[in-house]
């Protein structure tokens, strides 16, 4: 390398370092107003949570930025989580808002290693909503709860004037008991750990997108909404303390889940694009729409980080559970560069898989 080329390489290096330092700082929330981007699960959402909420509430459990918070009482480890559902349209192929509201909260508990115990349900209903639609959603909640073996023990109802909400919003809070086998933390991931994904990605977001009928595109794609507890239970059994962390890959898809955990644990992740399972019809729709399935929301997919010695057994066990036959190992944890997710493309190149800055599609859950 010539001296000039070396100086240039050094300068580029310095610029990149400045960017990395800026990125690793806690984001500050400086926006004047909330825009749709703050709800998209990407960088703006991260800024809202890490820049406004976490500093204001000053909770150690919250600072962990897990899918559920941990509370200890009399030796019992409990996990608590809450979620609001504003999906549009409220019914879509493969599911509906009621089913989503139960499974979404159950899944936040499951990936925290907690067996779901009880849910609360709060309904915000729009004046004029048809009773049949409401009844259908209540039944959907009841049957999803039965399937996930969790009781809905408390709730609330509010009605707002027509136009002040879109049909109905559902809020659920979930309480779970942290499983004795679980030693999970968003900060526990170590270099060498293997990255597993529990099934094909991108189905939920794609199904919603098509169900809105704005794209003039038709395909038989169903939401993947389902309880993840059977998968979590199996992974805990097969990997034990080798299971470091799990994440429910909802808004922002597996790309966001991987980025959040790479940041939390201060590790790098190397993902092999060709190993990520995607259903052919989802791949086709994503291709036409110019979006990457890795960034599309799921409602029944988790990513798990498993110690190298336990990974093969964990994957085999996961694949034997009904609904998770297509689970796959998609990559490996590295140490450098910390906080980054890198992808080896199927074509043989490499790129960064960053958090999204924009908003591919609002109100998917």
């Amino acid at each position: 390398m010539s001296p000039a080329a070396r100086t240039e390489a050094g300068r580029e290096e310095r610029v990149l370092e400045i960017i990395e330092t800026a990125r690793s700082k806690r984001p500050r929330f400086k926006d004047d107003r909330i825009t749709m981007a703050h709800g998209a699960g990407g960088k703006a959402t991260q800024t809202l949570i890490e820049g406004l909420l976490a500093p204001a509430f000053q909770s150690e459990a919250l600072a962990e930025l897990g899918d559920a918070g941990a509370v200890e009482t009399n030796g019992a480890r409990l996990a608590i989580t809450t979620d609001s559902f504003v999906v549009k349209p409220i019914r879509f192929p493969g599911g509906s808002i009621g089913e989503l509201a139960v499974n979404g909260t159950v899944n936040d508990l499951a990936v925290s290693g907690a067996r779901p115990l009880a849910l609360t349900c709060s309904l915000v209903l729009e004046e004029g909503l048809s009773a049949d639609e409401l009844r259908a959603e209540v039944e959907a909640m009841a049957s999803a709860a039965e399937e996930a073996q969790v009781e809905i023990v408390s709730g609330d109802t509010k009605v707002v004037e027509r136009g002040h909400c879109d049909s109905m919003y559902v809020c659920t809070t979930g309480l779970g008991r942290v499983d004795d086998r679980a030693a999970l933390s968003t900060r526990a991931i170590e270099p060498g750990d293997r990255i597993l994904v529990s099934g094909p990605v991108g189905a939920h977001g794609t199904a919603i997108m098509l169900a809105r009928g704005e794209l003039g595109l038709d395909a038989e794609i169903s939401s993947d909404t389902r309880s993840l507890w059977p998968a979590a239970d199996t992974l805990l059994e097969a990997a034990g303390s080798g299971l470091r962390a799990m994440r429910d890959a909802t808004r922002g898809g597996i790309a966001s889940a991987l980025n959040e955990l790479a940041r939390a644990s201060g590790v790098a992740m190397q993902v092999s694009e060709g190993a990520i399972p995607v259903l052919p019809e989802v791949a086709g729709a994503a291709e036409l729409l110019g979006i990457d399935p890795a960034y599309v929301a799921n409602e029944g997919v988790l990513v798990a980080f498993v110690a190298p010695g336990a990974a093969d057994a964990a994957l085999a066990a996961l694949r034997s559970v009904a609904g998770f036959e297509e689970a796959a190992e998609i990559g490996e944890v590295r140490s450098e560069p910390p906080g980054m997710v890198l992808v080896d493309t199927a074509f043989g190149g490499r790129r960064v898989m960053d958090l999204l800055a924009g908003d591919p599609l609002p109100r998917i859950c």
């Binding site: 610029v15 749709m36 074509f347 490499r350």
Partner: protein
């Protein structure tokens, strides 16, 4: 996926890369510009530059239609969007383009009725179902998207839909290329020609690049093998002392282009005498406005717009990035004041912009070994 995977075959990719390595003369550096933002996106998405020898550098050109819209133009659109009777419609990637005060996403949060559409026909549909509102479509894009805007305007006229109008910011590809080639500090050896635009305009309009400026151009498809093959064709021209326009994307691009599309564009649009490009300044006859026959559907005539020119931010060096004079990271504000979340310059705005692509994907492309 059939008919797609064939163009992403890693083994063929390695074979093409080997041919490129063999063609590159030792000690010589090659700068090749991909004109179209779609190519930039593919290059990063597939990690194509990872497969190239270090001496072959890809320079990202001005072909991102979102990036080239200047702030004054966004402000004009904003003035229309903020009128209470207006439903303002635009493509999703326009939402984050900065105006002098705010972008459309922020204006929407402040109460303007701004809606994302996927096609101009969606905007027309909104007009039909909201007869008491004025529906404005903010039209952007090169010749690729101009025909669909033209057809929509024809239909609006034929159906007598009076509450629909269009703020036309369509641009044309040849004038900015000529402006780039005329610039004295340009350092380029060849061009990867814009495949999508060429499906409309054909290959002929690019003949002046080898003819007048002595640089080869290869019209290229968007799959990774297309792009690698185009680079191979450019290097092969340079190695053999040839210089001409070649069409790698023959399966889609006819030499004469799409004649019916060109005809409908000629009917609905006419050239603006001047148009300002973000980062490149004013370029003569480089953009389209509605022709006299369609002036009743011209939103700029129907509504009052400030029409004030807003200078590009001083610190921003997008112009130099576009000319290949500096790389994205060499810009004074790259990655610090100017990031994808808070973009200052055109190249950082859309994911297809050179700086955004580098920021998002490029930073570790050259670090072959992970620890």
């Amino acid at each position: 996926m059939r008919f797609v995977d064939e163009f992403r075959d890693a083994e063929l990719g390695r074979a093409l890369a080997a041919q490129i390595h063999a063609l590159a003369e030792p000690g010589r550096n090659y700068k090749v510009m991909e004109v179209c933002g779609g190519h930039t996106h593919s290059i990063y998405k597939y990690g194509i530059d990872d497969l190239l020898p270090d001496q072959v550098e890809l320079v990202h050109g001005p072909g991102c239609p979102v990036c080239v819209i200047p702030m004054g133009r966004v402000d004009d659109g904003m003035a229309i969007a903020e009128r209470p009777e207006v439903i303002f419609t635009c493509f999703g990637d326009m939402m984050r383009v900065p105006g002098s005060e705010r972008n459309f996403l922020e204006a929407k949060a402040e109460g303007a009725d701004i809606r994302m559409v996927y096609s101009p026909l969606d905007a027309l549909r909104i007009a039909k179902s909201n007869p008491d509102r004025e529906v404005v479509f903010f039209a952007i894009g090169f010749e690729t998207t101009a025909p669909s805007t033209a057809l929509t305007l024809k239909r609006a006229k034929a159906e007598g839909i009076e509450n629909f109008s269009c703020m036309c910011s369509h641009v044309t590809i040849v004038p900015p290329l000529r402006a780039l080639l005329d610039s004295p500090d340009l350092r380029l050896d060849g061009f990867i020609g814009p495949g999508h635009v060429s499906t409309i305009v054909g290959v002929r309009p690019f003949e002046f690049i080898p003819g007048d400026y002595g640089k080869p151009l290869v019209t290229s498809g968007f799959e990774p093998l297309d792009i690698l093959q185009s680079i191979e064709m450019i290097l092969s021209q340079l190695a053999n002392g040839r210089c001409c326009v070649e069409n790698q994307y023959k399966r889609v691009v006819p030499y004469e282009g799409n004649v019916p599309a060109l005809r409908v564009m000629a009917e609905v649009f006419e050239l603006r005498p001047h148009f300002e490009w973000r980062g490149l300044g004013f370029i003569s006859q480089s953009a389209l406005k509605l022709s006299a026959a369609y002036s009743d559907l011209d939103a700029e005539l129907r509504f009052e717009v400030p029409g004030v020119r807003v200078a590009d931010p001083k610190a921003c060096q997008c112009g130099e990035v576009l000319k290949g004079v500096i790389k994205p990271w060499e810009c004074k504000v790259f990655g610090t004041a100017c990031t994808p979340e808070h973009a200052i310059g055109t190249c950082m705005v859309s994911p297809e912009g050179a700086c955004a692509a580098y920021y998002n994907y490029g930073r570790f492309a050259r670090e072959k070994e992970l620890v």
